[in-house]
């Protein structure tokens, strides 16, 4: 509040500064062709006082002596603000609003290309788009800002990971997430753990989201993000390129004055979507709420369990430099308190980057060090039953007093002389006291990470340069969880003394490459070519010690020494190396026709012991683009027109060690003999893709249009098949299958209005992806994505089906009429005995509207994001209906029946017993996933610089009110259908007591010194 008052005072003061007048004049020209620009609006920044340029592009204006800057604006041109000094003449060049045509775009391997000559579609997101309404995991800020990029958040609270899918899922059992590249160098983005089942997992300690790599970065360090969506764009990355590449360019120091930016963002998070609970039918035996007599209950509201979360991100950066030397240093501090007690995140980011030129600017050195320390406490489970406080919380009998279990979640146990868990019924695998879980099963996740790189570039001649790069990305993760004695023995070990899990993992990714670049123009022909070689070496090592069933000797002593002999141990160790040579060349003709050729050969250590080890795999790409508007005369309204087409074939890395199976040791020294057949024909998955597209700009750049059609076929999918019982092996591997994705992406820009101080920009992103499983393997009728647990949910791939198909238990139906079958004896529907397809989790298309309204120093940004089609299965609803706590069950009891597909079922409890629960008729709980939300809203005010005076310490300041995920304009599901249980391939489109979605509201302050 104090900040607001200060700013109001500053504003008030500013109006008192207009005393003396002075006269300024000059001319305004177009930066593209130097022509004079008539009709340009010239105003004193932050006021409405101004003029327009005459027919020769000249202006003259009388302004207050204290005015610090002038703002120039014109249709189709970027607004420009000029600081005023002693001079009275200011000539200004206005640049056309950039649509990236002549912009330099950072493509694969950090190779810079003019966007005009690109043969494929890319989409750029600027740094300020990421920092406008910050999310603790910065990749979430891209959601809705790039067509064809689908981002879903794990429902595991602050510090959770995100799933990014570009142009659909391609791989049945391999990775589907893109490669992240920072300043040309691949980054590690693995997740330490993801849920494996709808029940619970990670060896029964409860499903865990181990976070991801991209969420570690400081968004303020990012200059821009360029998304290489198609394989053609990412082909230079060969065997890692199948899922697209997210190219991150970080900030460098800038030559000139030293600037210090201070950025502070604070947001408050509140729960938005909760299940609908009833308050009229009370408890029955067993802790159900199936009372048949209606009353007016005053019970607790499960929403009260959640707090207001607070996220604070403070960052400061210093940029300074000369022509020879530039320095950038930043520090960011993120501190977040989740909506569940005890869940918090603390993150520190240090970034140092130095760029220097030597030997007559022939040699450039660019080095950076990025230090990250992150600690997350009590990360909530993204879903499942095990150790999930929401289960007990939501199921708690309506109308009963929960406060005694909240205040006394533990009670003294005289028999054992310790505090033991207290809940209204015996705690078991599925349900425990929520407050016990948040207080007595604490976990801590610590990550220390260093990303450092060094690049040396030598400009040998005007045409030729050579560059060498090396980087190390080192991550050390420590995870600990303590479960106190009397945590249900099914989870904490039968000796009932508690459980201790400790894991320590290190991952290092070492990367090095050399690039030789050549560019030359001979008459109408331009050539630019890059050739190089790279080496990528990944090593992992980790140890998990878990007392599990073995238990602890002394209750509540959490140390490795206190673990009993039968504890569980998991050792991870891995080494993989890929070596590559590659080359890419672009030949341009008359600067309107460009041909791109790319080739890369990868040798991967994972292919050792196969026939392909020596020759590796070759990945080619070819692209062609023509700028029609430069070739032929087009009607005047068309500013620019371009068509492009490309084809490529890239890979998806293969699992290591498959070609050389070994026996393995279990904890405690039991040898498990190998039961997998060796796979010497192993090949990487291969994605062949073609894309065609076109770009248009009309009416002085007021309308821009970009259209892409693509088709990707991913073959050689890696499947593990059960071997015949008599073969001597349990499993064998095959390469087979064909998964197709095709779709269109449209990006439409509308800049309908620039009128004086008012400017309005809009971007629309539309993307449609159609996925189809064309082929699996002749012996594979379907492929199970993850195992089927005792829930009525299973993700499966079947020929002719699509990725994201969900199988579940259905109603038995008449084969002719399709009408649901009713059991004569019970009067209830009949449950199918086998799993059938009930839903598909993938959206049909997405549409987002990114708008920006600027008036003087005020800017309003909004992002409306819609996903259309697809389904989700609400296992939370299913479970809660069985317990009789939901409003749906109360409504049915009030009416005296449940109505479904025209049938009335009078036995309400019987009906919900049948359809509800984790293993009921999941078909009944399929909801449409279509939703439209106001994802971002930001109102910002640029405090006019004259307030701070010409020689003031503060050079600029901005204050904004921001909101994320504010509300749904439309939502078919009873919760946020975009939250996911796992960011892996499995468990899509299902919610099992996941953390409720939050709305965040807050403010940002940015001050430059």
């Amino acid at each position: 509040m104090r900040i607001l008052i200060t700013f109001s005072l500053l504003l008030f003061c500013s109006t008192m500064m207009y005393a003396q007048q002075r006269s300024i004049s000059g001319s305004v020209t177009s930066a593209s062709d130097g022509s004079a620009l008539p009709g340009v609006t010239v105003v004193v920044s932050g006021t409405s006082q101004g003029t327009i340029t005459n027919s020769d592009g000249k202006y003259q204006i009388s302004i207050p002596e204290k005015a610090a800057s002038l703002t120039f604006s014109f249709v189709g041109m970027e607004k420009q603000t000029v600081s005023l000094g002693a001079s009275n003449t200011y000539n200004v060049e206005l640049a056309p609003i950039s649509f990236g045509v002549d912009e330099v775009v950072v493509t694969a391997l950090g190779v810079e290309k003019r966007s005009k000559g690109l043969t494929y579609s890319t989409q750029q997101v600027k740094g300020d788009e990421l920092t406008r309404t910050k999310d603790v995991n910065m990749i979430n800020s891209i959601a809705g800002k790039s067509a064809g990029v689908v981002i879903t958040k794990s429902s595991s609270g602050v510090g959770g990971s995100s799933k990014v899918i570009i142009r659909g899922n391609r791989s049945a059992s391999g990775n589907n997430q893109p490669l992240y590249v920072i300043d040309g160098i691949p980054m590690y983005n693995g997740s330490a753990a993801q849920p494996a089942t709808t029940i619970g997992g990670n060896n029964d300690a409860g499903s865990r989201d181990g976070g991801d790599g991209i969420g570690n970065l400081n968004p303020d360090d990012i200059e821009s993000i360029n998304i290489l969506k198609g394989a053609s764009a990412s082909a230079l990355y060969g065997s890692q390129a199948a899922n697209g590449v997210i190219v991150i360019t970080t900030k460098k120091g800038k030559a000139g004055k030293t600037t210090i930016d201070f950025n502070s963002s604070t947001t408050f998070e509140n729960v938005v979507s909760m299940p609908d609970f009833q308050n009229s039918y009370g408890m029955t035996s067993g802790g159900y709420s199936w009372d048949s007599v209606s009353g007016n209950l005053t019970g607790y509201n499960p929403k009260d369990f959640f707090n207001t979360g607070i996220n604070t991100i403070n960052s400061v950066s210093i940029s300074s430099g000369t022509d020879k030397n530039q320095t950038y240093f930043s520090y960011a501090n993120t501190s977040a308190k989740g909506i569940i007690d005890g869940n918090k995140l603390a993150k520190h980011n240090f970034n140092f980057r130095e760029t220097a030129k030597f030997f007559n600017d022939k040699v450039t050195l660019d080095g950076s060090v990025n230090l990250i320390n992150q600690k997350v406490n009590n990360r909530p489970t993204p879903g499942g039953y095990y150790n999930n406080p929401l289960v007990g919380l939501y199921r708690f009998p309506r109308g009963e007093d929960i406060s005694s279990y909240q205040n006394n979640f533990e009670v003294f146990n005289t028999g054992r002389n310790l505090m033991s868990q207290n809940w209204h019924k015996p705690a078991d695998t599925w349900e425990q006291n929520p407050w016990w879980l948040i207080n007595r099963t604490p976990s801590e996740d610590v990550r220390n990470r260093v990303i450092s790189s060094l690049t040396a570039k030598v400009q040998i001649s005007k045409e030729l340069s050579v560059q060498a790069r090396g980087s190390a990305d080192f991550t050390a993760d420590k995870y600990e969880q303590k479960m106190y004695a009397t945590t249900t023995p099914a989870i904490a070990g039968t000796n009932d003394n508690g459980r201790f899990l400790f894991s320590d993992n290190q991952i290092s990714l070492i990367y090095g490459d050399v690039l030789l670049s050549y560019s030359k123009e001979i008459n109408d022909i331009s050539i630019s070519a890059t050739a190089g070689a790279s080496i990528n070496d990944t090593k992992e090592q980790g140890l998990l010690l878990d007392s599990r069933d073995g238990g602890l000797e002394i209750a509540n002593v959490f140390s490795v020494g206190n673990m009993l002999a039968l504890g569980y141990l998991e050792e991870s160790k891995g080494h993989e190396q890929t070596q590559s040579v590659f080359g890419t060349a672009q030949i341009g003709f008359k600067d309107y026709l460009f041909l791109d050729v790319t080739g890369r050969n990868d040798w991967s250590s994972a292919l050792a012991y196969t026939n392909s080890m020596k020759k590796g795999f070759f990945y080619p790409a070819l692209g062609l683009t023509g700028v029609i508007s430069d070739m032929v005369q087009l009607p005047e309204i068309i500013e620019f027109a371009k068509v492009r087409a490309s084809y490529s074939s890239v890979g998806n890395s293969i699992p290591r060690y498959i070609s050389y199976p070994t026996h393995s040791m279990n904890a405690g020294g039991s040898l498990i003999f190998n039961s997998e057949a060796p796979f010497s024909d192993l090949k990487p998955e291969i994605s062949s893709s073609m894309e065609i597209g076109t770009e248009w700009r009309f009416l002085n750049n007021q309308v821009t249009f970009d259209f892409t059609y693509y088709k990707t076929n991913t073959k050689n999918q890696f499947f593990s098949l059960p071997a015949e019982a008599g073969s001597g092996y349990s499993f064998f591997y095959v390469n087979s299958g064909n998964i197709e994705n095709k779709g269109v992406e449209v990006v439409l820009g509308l800049h309908p209005m620039v009128k004086g101080d008012f400017q309005w920009k809009n971007y629309f992103n539309f993307a449609l992806n159609k996925n189809k499983i064309l082929e699996l393997h002749p012996d594979l009728t379907h492929f199970n994505v993850g195992g089927q647990t005792s829930s009525s949910y299973w993700m499966r791939l079947e020929e002719g089906g699509q990725f994201g198909d969900i199988y579940g238990i259905k109603f038995e139906r008449d084969s002719v009429s399709g009408d649901i079958q009713i059991d004569g004896a019970t009067g209830l529907p009949i449950k199918s005995s086998e799993f059938g397809k009930i839903a598909n989790a993938s959206p049909d298309f997405s549409l987002s509207w990114n708008g920006q309204l600027t008036y003087k120093d005020f800017t309003l940004n909004f992002l409306l994001d819609g996903r259309f089609g697809g389904d989700v299965v609400g296992m939370t609803q299913s479970d809660l209906d069985e317990w009789g706590v939901t409003q749906a069950t109360a409504d049915a009891r009030n009416k005296g029946y449940v109505e479904y597909e025209g049938h009335q079922f009078k036995d309400v409890k019987g009906f919900y017993d049948l359809v509800g629960g984790r293993d009921g008729i999941s078909e009944y709980y399929v909801y449409g996933a279509t939703n439209i939300r106001l994802r971002e809203l930001a109102l910002s005010y640029n405090i006019p610089s004259q307030i701070f005076g010409k020689s003031g310490v503060i050079k600029g300041a901005n204050f904004s009110l921001v909101g994320r995920n504010l509300f749904f304009l439309y939502n078919e599901a009873p919760y946020d259908p975009d939250a996911v249980l796992s960011t892996g391939n499995n468990l899509q489109g299902v919610d099992v007591f996941g953390m409720p979605t939050t709305r965040s509201l807050g403010f940002n302050i940015k001050i430059s010194f």
């Binding site: 292919l607 070994t662 498990i672 003999f673 015949e724």
Partner: protein
């Protein structure tokens, strides 16, 4: 500028060399691509590990609780606990799995019932086959032990499904070829015979040698015990086929007992140590997914059997206590509507340290008693003597006292009352045909059939908790009398009064080995359902 040019020349050379170097430098890849956590064949030569290392897995896979990386207990739950342990009348689940549409109500769940097949072939037979290959020529003692374990494991699989892949296993050309159950049983007898011969030779040549001691989870490396176990298994299998092939049965049984080492008389063939934990302990006491079966309550409380407190924990259910029940079981196939109503009935009194029992000495006495009843020679006593030895041995095994009084008791099974169900739908009242109507005391005056019922009833009690054997013998003899399911959701595939006869074949076998599967169904002489009786199951 000259230096600059030289510099760039050097760099270009470096670059080109670099590229060449990279492409030629894959020779370390083979080293990189070996999982360092893994164990290669070279590393397991010492202490015969390359042979012995397979044995813990094989031994623990029989009464399955081997962790091959996916955890344990749940494997046992679906491989045996949710079928044989329930169908034998020993246990019952209070959990309404899949809305109570599951094995307990005769709606056989493929996802569970294929697992005994799938996992035994994936984790037992793969290992056993390797051992056979390694040991057949050079290490006869290991080879013999593997054969005994193979029969111990695979007769259980055959008794679940019928035809199995046995004699052609591991033969890659005909890997999927089934044996009829008869052929499989004949092969079992042969394998046991071979094993006994080989071990006999080995023991005679190397009286002190115990090369197997490090890996033995049954008999501490004592080969004479292994021979006794093999002979006992042979007797068990002979009795099993005594209805369908009485002559063969007699020959095998008499041969088994004629062997100079004899059969198990005190020792119990049970798996323990080396990481083995009893799965039933966790499933019953931690998960609460398996509790006492109603027939157990009826027979043990009716007989006032002191072993009841060794087998089960007293019920914690207040309703049961207030009605005076110390132990309460659950009837199979009742209409379970939730997971909590029966949750506090008697749980199984086993701990993780309890061994996994494969065969008890008591069982062997009962087998001999039945042989004597059939008039086979060399059984070592009269039916009465052997029957009473069986009871005594079982009491001893469980540390129970009062066997002498028990053997004079004329108690019969108690009626069963389901205290949770309305209007007595699940009750088995006094006078009901389903109540086991024989008493512990032997009575020479009764019919052979009644004496058989006594033998089998006592064997049923003595075999607890090994539901697989108990269910097989129930199917063969119809004893002890069990309670039929209340709800039969098998769509007419399984008869309520006839009880479930087998499990249907694994779905994976059906999809991945179609020819073999069709052949197997043909051998079954009936549809692949739970209602088709096995070869030895004739009435």
């Amino acid at each position: 500028m000259k230096t600059m040019k030289t510099y760039s020349k050097i760099l270009s050379c470096l670059l080109i060399t670099g590229i060449l170097f990279f492409s030629a430098c894959t020779n370390k890849f083979e080293e990189y691509n070996i999982d360092e956590r893994g164990v290669t064949d070279k590393q397991i030569q010492s202490d015969y590990y390359f042979i012995g290392g397979f044995f813990p897995q094989m031994q623990q896979m029989i009464y399955c609780n081997f962790n091959w990386g996916w955890g344990n207990n749940w494997t046992y739950q679906i491989m045996q606990n949710l079928n044989a342990d329930i169908f034998s009348g020993y246990m019952m689940t209070p959990t309404a799995f899949a809305g109570n549409v599951n094995n307990t109500t005769y709606a056989l769940v493929d996802g569970w019932n294929g697992s005994a097949w799938d996992y035994t072939y994936a984790y037992f037979m793969t290992a056993e086959n390797q051992v056979e290959k390694i040991t057949k020529d050079d290490y006869p003692s290991f080879y013999a032990t593997a054969l005994i374990l193979k029969v111990a494991a695979m007769h259980r699989i055959s008794d679940l499904y019928g035809p199995i892949i046995y004699t052609h296993y591991g033969d890659s050309k005909t890997g999927g070829q089934f044996d009829s159950q008869k052929d499989a049983y004949y092969a079992f007898f042969e394998d046991l015979k071979t094993a006994v011969t080989l071990l006999d030779e080995f023991v005679k040549q190397n009286p002190e040698a115990k090369p197997f001691v490090k890996y033995d989870q049954l008999f501490e490396g004592d080969y004479t015990q292994w021979i006794k176990f093999a002979n006992s298994l042979r007797l068990r299998l002979a009795i099993r086929i005594s209805d369908v092939e009485p002559a063969k049965a007699k020959t095998e049984a008499e041969a088994a007992l004629a062997n100079s080492y004899g059969v198990l008389e005190t020792k119990v063939a049970q798996v323990s140590g080396k990481g083995y934990t009893n799965p039933v302990a966790a499933i019953s006491n931690s998960w609460g997914d398996i509790l006492m079966g109603a027939p157990m309550e009826s027979i043990l409380t009716g007989y006032n059997d002191p072993r009841i407190k060794k087998f089960f924990n007293e019920t914690a259910d207040p309703d049961a206590k207030s009605k005076g029940y110390a132990y309460k079981g659950i009837r199979q196939g009742i209409n379970l509507t939730d997971n909590v109503t029966y949750r506090s009935h008697s749980s199984i009194n086993l701990t993780a340290e309890s061994p996994g029992i494969l065969m008890t000495a008591a069982e062997v006495y009962f087998l001999r008693a039945e042989g004597a009843l059939k008039g086979w020679s060399g059984m070592g006593g009269t039916a009465k003597e052997l029957y009473e030895l069986g009871v005594n041995t079982s009491f001893e095994q469980w540390g129970a006292s009062g066997a002498a009084d028990y053997l004079t008791s004329s108690n019969v099974a108690a009626p069963y009352v389901d205290i949770k169900a309305a209007d007595g739908v699940n009750d088995v009242l006094k006078g009901s045909n389903y109540l086991n109507n024989v008493s512990p005391a032997w009575d020479e005056a009764t019919s052979d059939e009644q004496r058989l019922q006594k033998i089998i009833t006592q064997k049923w009690i003595a075999t607890f908790p090994e539901g697989m054997e108990a269910w097989s013998e129930f199917r063969r003899t119809g004893y002890p009398k069990l309670f039929p399911v209340v709800l039969n959701l098998s769509d007419g595939k399984i008869s309520t009064e006839g009880f479930v006869k087998r499990l249907n074949f694994s779905v994976t076998e059906k999809s991945s080995n179609e020819a073999g599967y069709n052949q197997a169904v043909e051998m079954l002489n009936g549809p692949d359902t739970g209602g088709t009786p096995l070869w030895w199951d004739i009435d």
